[in-house]
Symmetry: C2
Subunit: 310 residues, 2 copies
């Protein structure tokens, strides 16, 4: 009798953009995460089993994890079959990389079954097909931190160039107000052209943020968490945004902004007590607005997708 | 008898922009540098003595060093008189921070006479008045590295926020083709608006460059030395630019581009032999074009203005 090998992974939520780093920065958080199991099947191809209530499609070509695995299969020389079971805890559409967790988790788990034939960069490439299915754009600012962990810079998409950035300990408070902001809509409201003087401010902040992270300079991180280009446009889609941001800073947060394309908002803090005080600010605001919401207090997580059981 | 105190300083040339870091990055080089001497006078006010052949104005309000010192005098509670002697070796208009060296050298020297009452940030603020006189804009991307040394990030001008970035050893080759590019002209040809997609590429490169410098990753520095916004517009003012850039890379340079607003071109290399090979490339190109030119092979210098004799 052959013992069937099952790989279980946790695929974390991720925060893309990181305020000033539109399309180039993202980080992984410790919680929430999706649970996924994968095993080889005799029949080639992909089988997907959804073990949650999100009613996501099970057809591989319509499922983001399926799209990522199909891209991987294309680069294998022999026919392979995978059965992937997904139990999502990251709510789709919340703006914390739910689709990226599915895509990235699937390819990391599959690659473990295949004894690691593919590099991390290959896995990012495969998983980006899931993002393409979800939002129409092959972006990597959730995928890369989900696979690499910690804070990642996507210097370039063509060619793919991912840089892991070390960061000091940072606590993350996230609020997900229960409204829908479609990534495609959040992209379409952006202006195609921006003023050079604003772009200069933005890249000053990006350089400051990268420097603050690498040099563990919390004050510099705080000063650099400013977005003069994207946030002023997108934040109008998120009720309560300005109040949450202002009061979170007053409560001691270093700064923060829209997570990905929203509607979730994240704030970074130096210590857990501040992160919890920020959570209270967020809860108060959305209770007052009468909007359902979830909050998380977590940390930037140095691991990406974790192999739980092999 | 009172021994009169004379401070002598060396104020180094600087390279602003650093390819992708338009208006926010700059670095100091070991050579060339201006020599300056300053002493207190009984009569309040500024006296300037030019000891070179550049025929720069001696009236303080028309001289960049004078403008910087006048800004400093305004913040002193008591009337003070300075006599400043300047022997410039950095040719005005060459694009390697000649005006910044005069302004920064003057205020650092004066502050030493005053026993360091002003902070480095104050000195940058004063010296920016020299830049305003020279180019109409209070930029700090030559001033800041001239005062702080090494590579500096100007995250923000209002409020002033300067970050010193550590960098691995880097050799610098500079060529100054003897043509005139006025800073004001080089600014006026820039478009006021840029495509967001190009700005994203630019800030990906800026983040990569800062990360490469702080993490001593030469390959990442090289990949990040790319400017999709400013160089394509400004390089048309510099004959031979594209050939010098391409052949310098072929000779082993990590990369480089326009120094400040030109016409000088700089290239970074990991070792001196490569920097010398790059110098040969530059000389060959400008000999072929029949353009007078100077070249320097130097290093990024961790000191800014140096006190030689106090």
């Amino acid at each position: 009798m052959v013992t069937e090998k099952i790989i279980k992974v946790h695929a974390p939520a991720t925060v893309a953009n990181m305020v000033c780093g539109f399309d180039i920065l993202g980080f992984a958080v410790k919680e929430p995460y999706d649970e996924m199991w994968i095993r080889l099947t005799e029949q080639p191809g992909i089988t997907i089993i959804n073990k949650d209530d999100y009613q996501l499609p099970a057809e591989p070509e319509k499922n983001v994890a399926g799209a990522a695995l199909l891209a991987m299969l294309e680069e294998l020389t022999q026919p392979v079959g995978f059965e992937l079971t997904i139990r999502k805890h990251i709510k789709p559409g919340s703006g914390v990389g739910s689709s990226a967790a599915s895509s990235a988790g699937a390819v990391v788990a599959a690659n473990t079954l295949l004894n690691g034939v593919f590099s991390k960069e290959d896995l990012v490439r495969f998983a980006m097909n899931g993002e393409k299915l979800a939002s129409g754009v092959k972006h990597a600012d959730n995928i890369a931190p989900c696979i690499y962990g910690g804070v990642t810079l996507i210097r370039s998409i063509h060619p793919l160039d991912i840089v892991a950035l070390t960061a000091p300990p940072l606590f993350v408070t996230i609020v997900h107000p229960q409204i829908e902001v479609r990534t495609a809509d959040a992209r379409s409201i952006l202006k195609k052209q921006v003023y050079l003087k604003d772009a200069i401010k933005q890249w000053g902040n990006i350089a400051g943020l990268v420097s603050g992270l690498l040099q563990s300079d919390y004050a510099l991180i705080g000063r650099s968490l400013e977005d003069v280009l994207i946030e002023p446009v997108r934040s109008i889609l998120i009720p309560g945004f300005n109040t949450v941001k202002q009061k979170s800073r007053e409560a001691g947060a270093l700064g923060g902004g829209i997570s990905g394309s929203g509607p979730s908002i994240f704030m970074l803090s130096k210590d857990e007590a501040t992160a919890i005080a920020v959570e209270k600010v967020m809860q108060d605001e959305y209770q007052q607005l009468g909007l359902d919401h979830h909050t998380y207090v977590t940390t930037i997580h140095s691991s990406g997708v974790e192999i739980i059981k092999a």
